[in-house]
């Protein structure tokens, strides 16, 4: 027995000896060998200086499913293929909310507004050293318009169903002719992932493109043009990236970016486990929930990190009433009970509901005060497109009662619930997702207030996929509470499906054969103006009017949006936190591991 005890203790000692997962950065060289030639058209990041070395560890909930930028169609994959592994013709700057030169050092559009020219930088190379040219972009557009592949970006790259014409002009100019003026052109063309023809051309020829660049691809075969390339991928565990040795961005001192030696993403599916990992020092950033704010704020000094309040998020929370008054073609019966349909289509009814939303109360109770009231789909933080002058129906239960009385919804039999003019009890069900605690919190406060003004409303938890089926196919619901995350960049050009009455995701009444109401017809027209507009001002005016109409008629009633919160270790400089994903890593190539300089910056910030 004694022998076993001893052996056990030895093994135990070995365990405690293993330092495990602490993100202690091993001593790394401050210089880095850069044998590759500096491109003639190198992009210098003005005013940026930093040190080589270090590692930055982030966490993700779900692993990427593919590294193929063209076929990736959900965020866990596109977070990589459109993120650290990629560069586009132009880069969207999260701080200025404008496009900046990237692969293209300049661009212009001619006087007709339909012919665009992009001038590629000189000396661009892929991560394997091969030259990156306009031909690669032409190859990518072939992939975009391929009928079999049909990547989702194809829909953006068409105007009225017509594709663009792409040509090469001279050595480094890409000429694109659009069949008409297209306001969303830059958004569309920067969403096209440029693919290396010398690597994937053959796969395209023999039809195996969609399985190319899968997660089983050996890292050295994954040729990319972004700041990072794949170093290691352990399925379900982590993604490890290393610097692209042929990257075209340099700092002020001529050092090729990125500074860091490694960028690591750990796969941690559980939100609580992520938080604990951060607190244990095993990762360097965490985007967290309002409920974790107090705990994280307290630990700032001890954990040597800073909590950043990123401001109002673009993700929205709202609910709407089913205004689909059509009949199911098979059964002949209307989708929605016609008695209820009368209330839902009554603007006064919806305005009264809008007055029942205690936005500040919801912010305080559900989001611990870390949120902002929301009155439309475009929050104020979206500086370019937010219309501040739209009617806002504030929390006022008495006003709600007044409106309902005047509209004929009166409690005639004294049971606490109003009836409409025909004597029907006003009663409806609000569908919510069962697995979203914040939305459940919102729902309980909301229905409490609505019940107070004499409308009987209950919630029902329904699985997300069922909600989607109901709102797109079966239309058998009264009201739904949902939220949408914003696209990046947050512009209306990709919003046809939502804002147009014929749109698939025109939530309260999708795919109308012809616009139901005068204001929806007007919004349809305005959406067309936006898509075909040549300049931002025209598009902005049109979009402002759309927002005005939506606010006036409240087909969807907006509630709140939370403020983004992220905690990042103090040992890094070059951070430029933004409320849009990926918050800090959107400029990963500027991050430098420099504890002394970071401490100085922290002191000046708080001093």
């Amino acid at each position: 027995m004694g022998r076993f005890n001893w052996l056990f203790l030895v093994v135990l000692a070995c365990f405690f000896g293993c330092s495990g997962d602490r993100s202690e950065t091993p001593p790394s060289p401050v210089t880095r060998q850069d044998p590759n030639p500096r491109p003639g058209g190198a992009l210098v990041e003005e005013g940026l200086v930093g040190r080589y070395g270090g590692r930055y560890v982030s966490v993700i909930r779900v692993q990427p499913k593919t590294f193929n930028g063209m076929t990736a169609n959900e965020s866990s994959s596109s977070d990589f293929t459109s993120g650290p592994l990629a560069e586009s013709l132009l880069k969207y700057n999260y701080s200025t909310q404008e496009y900046e030169p990237a692969l293209a050092e300049s661009y212009e559009v001619d006087s007709s507004g339909t012919v665009w020219r992009f001038h590629f930088r000189e000396g661009l190379r892929w991560s394997d050293g091969a030259a990156l040219t306009v031909d690669d972009f032409l190859f990518s557009m072939d992939l975009v318009y391929d009928e079999v592949l049909h990547p989702s970006v194809a829909d953006l790259c068409k105007l009225n169903g017509q594709p663009f014409r792409v040509e090469k002009e001279g050595k480094r100019t890409l000429k694109i002719t659009v069949p008409g003026t297209y306001g969303g052109f830059l958004d569309a063309i920067t969403s096209v992932r440029i693919m290396p023809r010398h690597v994937l051309g053959d796969a395209y020829e023999n039809g195996t493109f969609s399985s190319a660049y899968g997660i089983d691809t050996p890292p050295e075969d994954l040729v990319v043009c972004g700041p990072w390339m794949l170093s290691k991928f352990k399925p379900q565990e982590r993604v490890v990236l290393k610097p692209n040795p042929y990257y075209f961005r340099f700092d002020q001192d001529g050092k090729r970016l990125p500074y860091l030696n490694e960028l690591v993403y750990l796969v941690v599916p559980d939100q609580n486990a992520q938080l604990l990992k951060f607190q244990a020092g095993e990762c360097d950033e965490i985007y967290f929930r309002a409920e974790d704010y107090a705990a994280l704020k307290d630990g700032e000094k001890e954990g040597d990190y800073t909590v950043y309040d990123l401001g109002q998020e673009m993700a929205t929370n709202f609910f709407w009433l089913n205004q689909n008054d059509r009949a199911n073609p098979e059964s002949g019966r209307p989708y929605v009970d016609p008695r209820k349909q009368k209330w839902f289509r009554d603007r006064e009814f919806r305005i009264a509901l809008a007055h029942c939303v205690d936005r500040q109360g919801i912010v305080d109770n559900v989001f611990y005060g870390i949120g902002e009231p929301l009155f439309g789909s475009i929050p104020p933080v979206n500086k370019k497109w937010h219309n501040p002058d739209v009617p806002k129906y504030r929390y006022d239960l008495d006003e709600a009662r007044n409106i309902l009385e005047h509209a004929g919804y009166i409690d005639r039999n004294g049971d606490g619930v109003r009836e409409d003019k025909d004597g029907n009890r006003i009663s409806l069900t609000l569908l919510i997702q069962p697995d979203n605690r914040e939305r459940q919190g919102i729902a309980s406060i909301l229905i409490d207030d609505i019940n107070k003004v004499g409308i009987e409303i209950k919630t029902a938890a329904v699985e997300f996929n069922t909600i989607i089926t109901k709102l797109r196919e079966t239309y058998d619901y009264d009201a739904i509470l949902l939220g949408l995350t914003g696209g990046i960049p947050p512009s209306p050009y990709t919003g046809s499906n939502v804002y147009k009455s014929s749109g698939r995701t025109h939530l309260w009444n999708p795919e109308q054969p012809s616009p139901d109401t005068r204001w929806e017809a007007e919004n349809d027209r305005l959406m067309d103006v936006i898509l075909s507009s040549e300049d931002y001002e025209t598009a902005r005016k049109a979009f402002f009017k759309i927002q005005e109409n939506l606010a006036q008629y409240q087909p969807a009633i907006y509630i709140v949006s939370r403020r983004g919160l992220i905690a990042v270790r103090n040992k890094f400089t070059g951070l430029n936190p933004s409320v849009m994903r990926p918050w800090v890593l959107w400029q990963s190539y500027r991050i430098s591991h420099d504890p002394e300089k970071a401490a100085q910056e922290l002191a000046t910030r708080s001093g």
Partner: protein
Amino acid sequence: MIPVLFGISFLTFLVMHLAPGDFLSTMALDPSVSQESIDAMRSRFGLDQHWTVQYALWLKNVMFHLDFGESFSLHQPVFNVLQTGLLNTFLLASSAAMITWVVAVPLGVVSAVRQYSWLDKVSSLIAFVGISIPEVFLALLLILFAAKTGWFPTGGIRGIDHDSLSVMGKGLDIAHHLVLPAIVLATVPLAGRMRQMRGNLLDVLRADYVTTARAKGLPERDVILKHALRNAINPLITLFGYTLATLLSGSFLVEVVMSWPGLGQMTLEALNSRDLYLMMGSVMMASTLLIVGNLVADILLALSDPRIQV
């Protein structure tokens, strides 16, 4: 065995199709994707055909070509995707099974032999707490413990510098990461087995042949370990296969919370995204493991009990 697998596969397929929506449902809500794109994808994945047709196709591929299909989201053959997950889950489940047995049997024996002693009372307490505590809570509690003390990693299967370690180092690294998840997973079955061991042994110790053995003058140690234990352990061996099976399916929750990259995580993701073939492959693998586990139990029982003729 084969009919069971048939039945399981059929039921799973049916249930997946009864649930509304499919792999492309979430994409349908994305305003930047057109209906044509979605229709094109739907026909490419074969999701526009009736579910019986889909099932027949799947079955044909599995039986004649051993082809479990391709994952919609990963564009990889299902078997390749599930391999590592299967291995990792098996590692976790067997470690948990080992812990269960190595701790439950001796503890149960000691509790029975020294009934009502303080050791018995303490182990009973541990057993009751172990059975009642929710797994998720225990997992989070242990992660918190790891975070605060730094003695154990807070999740995952490998450390961040795993690749620079020697072979021995790598093995120890994985073992180090295995400790907490295995403890969480083993807690409930451990408590159960320990109480059962204790109960069975107490029953056996009252039997006549035990009194006879004592009367014959055999040392107490032989009476208990050589005669009584072998009889008392019979029902537990039957449970062994069942335990392994429940550990394999029960590991899903622990894997997700403690980021253990096993079959559970993959299956959950496949379920959430309605990745049909990945889901089917995963269920088939889990079912096969369950059946194998039961087979092992039967064999062990035959070996240990001379009354059973194979």
